[in-house]
């Protein structure tokens, strides 16, 4: 399909320098009416900065923007919205203490406050993004918050819709529905800028793709005629590393969860009912599911951030651990990569060295209660080197790192503790292709060394790629974990969507039978 019409949005020579990094270096970009245009690139390639320029959050140092043929200066997001540009962010801009409807009202002033809840329900149903307008944001998981962002944007009927990784929280079926929606929006003549690391999605959806690397445009192509491998090569400048995956030689169960019940911590949380599963040494078990189905509660119960009443609901390396706190569970050999990196997995203001000390103990780092700075710095330096974290060194503040690099550091820190059980939540969420592959490989290597690994993720492709067994969580219940060879993406997708017919009763785990 060709687009003979004049571009709706035309960028010429956009440059933006941040202290120490040239985020955008003379970028040209044309987006035509009715076009779904992919912007591809690794984390740190400059995609987010470019989108912020278009949405008026960041002012470029140089370059021009033409909108519908006329040169414009987009001073702020309000002006961008007025022009007809909408954006769904990768990092959310929502107020925790307000409800969905209140948050949306802050950005959408074209709809009367009274009519808003009905319009939200309307739009969310149309696009299959279930949403209660009266819920408070702080009660929502990351995935649910993204839904709010998407609905908020669609409510404004934009002529150009910027979508930054919109599908990571959707079931495969919902992704297809969203794609239908996006195609329909494009057919109406709207333009869509689609940022994603998922090459298959881009090939299935987008008409054109602009590839960025290190702040420059390195290629333009029609993704429909490319393969994932050729796209990846353009993006990272080399072949996509494929994780090697031997068959599991699983040993004794290292993490056993038995009939775990957890009441929801807040009125909108998910109550966990009778969750039973086990992870053996030397295997990777995955838990798939759409966010908001109990992942948050399950993770808090497993990590010890929330302690349980019954001590043998969780048995860690043979020790009943239900009543133990997070530190005590770590001492038993548990390591945990949480979903949120800044503020939970790492202290934003602190250096990487201090962040290494956050969860890591041991005689080299702490002796008789006193910190051994040399040991701590050595641990951080080794983690940075082993996981190829792009940082100025152990003194760099955690918040100065890009999301993918910080995630590599956190994963590296946890793996470096030589755990017997590792739990990882959304290990590659918002992480670029290169870093994702590296993190997945690290998890597989860990498994091969005889560690029990549990991965809770919403990215089905990722789980299918690395897991030995896979279970699905829906509405606080867990399906039976099945060998990856004995299941299919379709079956898992049905379970994720809450299809009761396909879900196995929460029964004794196959591993224990």
């Amino acid at each position: 399909m060709s687009h003979p019409r004049a571009p709706r949005l035309a960028l010429r020579g956009i440059s933006k320098r941040y202290p120490g990094v040239l985020a955008n270096d003379g970028i040209d970009l044309d987006v035509r009416p009715g076009e779904i245009h992919a912007v591809l690139g690794e984390n740190g390639a400059g995609k987010s900065t470019l989108m912020k320029v278009i949405y008026g959050i960041v002012k470029p140092d140089a370059g021009t923007i033409r909108w519908e043929g006329a040169p414009v200066t987009i001073a702020n997001p309000a002006q961008a919205r007025k022009l007809g540009i909408g954006m769904v962010f990768q990092h959310f801009s929502l107020f925790d203490t307000l409800t969905v409807a209140e948050n949306i009202r802050l950005a959408v002033d074209t709809i009367a406050a009274r009519a808003l809840p009905a319009r939200i329900r309307d739009v969310s149903e149309r696009y299959g993004l279930a949403l209660d307008p009266d819920r408070h944001i702080h009660t929502m998981s990351v995935g649910e918050r993204q839904r709010v962002e998407i609905v908020r944007c669609l409510l404004q009927e934009p002529r150009l819709l910027i979508m930054d990784e919109p599908t990571s929280v959707l079931t495969p079926q919902a992704v297809l529905r969203l794609f239908d929606t996006l195609r329909a929006l494009a057919a109406e003549g709207r333009s869509i800028l689609y940022i994603s690391h998922k090459l298959d999605e881009i090939r299935a959806l987008c008409h054109r793709a602009t590839v960025l690397r290190a702040g420059r445009v390195t290629g333009e192509c029609d993704p429909r005629v490319e393969t994932s491998a050729t796209l990846a090569r353009m993006m990272i400048g080399s072949e996509l590393p494929h994780p090697r995956h031997r068959d599991a030689a699983a040993g004794a169960p290292a993490l056993v969860v038995d009939a775990l019940d957890v009441r929801a911590g807040d009125p909108f949380g998910t109550t966990l009912r009778g969750i039973s599963f086990s992870v053996r040494a030397g295997e990777i078990v995955g838990i798939a599911g759409v966010s908001g189905n109990g992942q948050k509660e399950l993770l808090a119960a497993l990590s010890g951030e929330r302690t349980l009443g019954r001590k043998d609901a969780i048995v860690l390396c043979g020790t009943p651990a239900g009543r133990l706190g997070a530190a005590a569970r770590r001492a038993l050999g548990l390591a945990f990569v949480p979903e949120e990196r800044l503020g939970r997995g790492a202290v934003p203001e602190m250096s990487l060295a201090d962040n290494a000390l956050l969860t890591t103990r041991g005689p080299a780092l702490v002796a008789r209660g006193f910190i051994r700075s040399k040991g701590v710095r050595a641990y951080a330096t080794k983690t940075i080197a082993d996981f190829r974290v792009k940082a100025t060194g152990p003194d760099a503040a955690a918040r100065s790192l890009s999301g993918g690099n910080l995630q590599k550091f956190i994963v590296g820190r946890e793996i470096g503790q030589q755990p017997r059980v590792l739990i990882a939540a959304q290990p590659t969420w918002g992480v670029d292709v290169g870093a994702s592959a590296q993190i997945r490989q690290a998890l597989i290597d860990l498994r091969d060394r005889g560690v029990a690994v549990l991965v809770i993720s919403e990215e089905l492709d990722e789980l299918m790629e690395i897991c030995d067994r896979l279970a699905v969580i829906a509405e606080g219940r867990l399906s039976e974990a099945k060998s990856i060879h004995a299941t299919s993406a379709e079956e898992i997708g049905m379970l994720m969507a809450g299809s009761h017919a396909a879900r196995g009763e929460p029964s004794a785990d196959a591993a224990r039978a």
Binding site: Y18, P19, G20, K59, A70, P71, V72, T73, A75, S303, G304, E305, G325, A326, A327, A328, R329, R330, F336, P338, E340, G343, R344, G345, A346, V347, P348, E349, M350, D354, L357, L358, T359, R361, V366, G369, F370, I371, A396, A397, R399, S400
Partner: protein, 361 residues
């Protein structure tokens, strides 16, 4: 042209230490205006306020004497503040400490105990009493989630009234012409002097030792590190298994112990007996000292000297310029105000940019 704030990628170390300097400068400007408004020659006023009090050896000793309780209390409070434990009731904990230490001194009576036993025992009693007073808000916070800012503050007034009752009633000096004050302590219950012909006593050495210990705890000890994490990112602390309860208890007790020690230092130092009021608000001023000192032990030592100078300057301004004593509080408040404002430069910097060209439509 327009100026705007831009987030810094890393907090600026320079700004962390420049903010107090900037705030002090701005406070001086406000002082200038205030003195002008009172029709005082600002230069003479500044001289009376900031130079005259420390122009003599005695004056320097007084500066150190007043800085002692401030640095002691601020050091204790800062341990809690780093973990977001807001003990506002150091004044009350100081009062309880003075009451317990002074009570022991009165009980010991005339020279029956040697000083090397009695003084440590008084400090121990004072620290324990301060901790006990701080334990109340700690318990209310961990048990009922009651806000420790309010409970610790309210306990200040209870403590003051308790001491007032004691010196008006059971502990009143029978030969004191009915004045509300206790007997004078015996010599063995008084802190030895550090500098002849001044009031400076060994309390300063104790305070500096505590500051050094606190530095060791905050910078080198894993528990100090964990409390810092809890203050910066509570979710990360929870993730790492750092106990929020323990932090509340430690933070409150550290503040209470230091305030209690300071109370004994006042009773057994410059005052030498128990009075209805044992401090001119050191417990509250120490909150400002803790923040001006960036919650850092060395910063707290410097800030306590500055705050002490404000106290001395206020007295001097009263005597020499006939200014009201409220001028001390005014300087204290202004200083904290500007410090909080100057803190924005730690995470932001000012950028000046030419305004963007207008759209050519």
């Amino acid at each position: 042209m327009r100026a705007f704030f831009e987030a810094r990628p890393q907090p600026s170390r320079l700004a962390v230490w420049m903010a107090p300097v900037l705030a002090t400068g701005a406070t001086l400007v406000i002082g200038f205006i205030v003195f002008e408004a009172f029709d005082k020659n600002p230069l003479a006023a500044f001289y009376a306020f900031f130079i005259q009090p420390v122009a003599t050896r005695y004056g320097v000793a007084e500066l150190l004497l007043k800085a002692t309780p401030l640095m002691l209390i601020a050091t204790g409070l800062a341990i809690g503040y780093r973990a977001n434990v807001w003990n506002i009731g150091a004044e009350g904990q100081l009062t309880l400490g003075a009451m317990a230490g002074g009570g022991l001194a009165l009980l010991a009576g005339d020279d029956s105990w040697p000083a090397f036993v009695l003084l440590p025992a008084m400090f121990a009693c004072g620290a324990l009493a301060g901790m006990a007073w701080a334990a109340i808000p700690a318990w209310l916070r961990t048990r009922f989630n009651a806000n420790e800012i309010l409970t610790s503050l309210m306990l200040v007034y209870i403590a003051t009234l308790l001491l007032s009752w004691l010196v008006h009633g059971p502990w009143r000096d029978p030969e004191g012409y009915n004045f509300p004050q206790s007997k004078l302590f015996s010599d063995n219950a008084l802190l030895p002097n550090l500098l002849a012909e001044t009031r400076l006593n060994v309390g300063l050495a104790l305070a500096l030792a505590i500051v050094a210990l606190a530095w060791l705890f905050v910078r080198r000890h894993i528990v100090g590190f964990e409390m810092r994490v809890a203050g910066l990112a509570p979710a990360a602390a929870n993730y790492a298994g750092i106990s929020a309860r323990r932090n509340v208890w430690l933070g409150m007790l550290a503040g209470g112990a230091c305030a209690g020690l300071a109370g004994v230092g006042e009773a057994a130092g410059p005052i030498g007996q128990l009075l209805p009021s044992m401090s001119p608000g050191y417990g509250f001023a120490a909150i400002i000292v803790a923040f001006v000192g960036r919650l850092h032990p060395l910063g707290i030592v410097l800030a306590s000297l500055l705050m002490s100078l404000l106290y001395l300057g206020g007295e001097s301004a009263q005597m020499n310029l006939a200014l009201p004593s409220a001028v001390t509080g005014l300087f204290q408040g202004t200083l904290l105000f500007f410090l909080l404002a100057a803190d924005v430069f730690v995470n932001y910097r000012v950028r000046i940019a030419r305004s963007a060209p207008r759209p050519a439509t």
